[in-house]
Symmetry: C2
């Protein structure tokens, strides 16, 4: 899943490929942690100087609409984005450095069935997110 694919997706959906979009796409696509609009702006400006913050917002909007990125919710705030997982995946976030990993294979079948029965709700979606410490932060830990 390369930046080129994202650009192709934009193009195939009637959006033009511009220098600004290229810079934003390349920045987010290769990041392994969630980035706020301002962070995306700062990082992308190294690739495309004339970039405006407004364009970052507009590009994020389109990438989210095409399901190429997703918003990341955290206790400290929910304005960060990261590349969307493939298929049915959830996020695992490092509380210390922000490193993000994807995981899959959660099976909530029996749980949702039981909850549906108990509450009378028809359950349609779920959000699951794990928090902890990544391998790297674990080993760099002081005693």
């Amino acid at each position: 899943m390369s930046a080129e694919f994202w650009l192709t997706q934009l193009h195939e959906n009637g959006y033009r490929i511009t220098g600004a979009r290229r810079a934003v796409v390349e920045t987010i696509e290769k990041s392994t942690r969630a980035l706020t609009p301002v962070k995306v702006y700062d990082m992308s400006r190294k690739r495309y100087r004339a970039l405006g913050l407004v364009t970052v917002y507009r590009t994020l909007e389109k990438l989210e609409e095409l399901h190429l990125i997703q918003r990341v919710h955290q206790p400290m705030g929910c304005q960060a984005f990261i590349s969307a997982g493939h298929g049915h995946q959830h996020l695992l976030l490092c509380k210390k450095c922000g490193q993000v990993a994807f995981f899959e294979g959660d099976d909530l079948e029996s749980l949702t069935k039981s909850i549906a029965k108990k509450t009378g709700y028809q359950i349609q979606d779920h959000w699951l997110q794990l928090f902890g410490l990544c391998k790297n932060c674990l080993s760099n830990q002081q005693a």
Copy 2:
């Protein structure tokens, strides 16, 4: 868990009990759906006219600090609050009317163990939230 208990909690933690706080507490404590600060403000003003929005923010802050309320994250926004569950509970939200139900009994033991092994992360917390349609919205559904 009555409004009086919340007020007692505030008092026991060195906070004064005021008309403004009484109004805010009573509003949130009896709500079965997540409320934004402005919504809390509008609803509470029916109980206490002189209430200021700033005081709503300040009161929410304290109630969250005492774990009496919790922030609710949703696709449409994350600035709403609802009474905190008791013990280890998660939320089930109606996508149509916003009705909130609590549930417990999720067992993520084996999942987190397996993910920890695969990723090398030490997993500490989890967020789980279910979305669907409540009993009421289900039955009021048009064909």
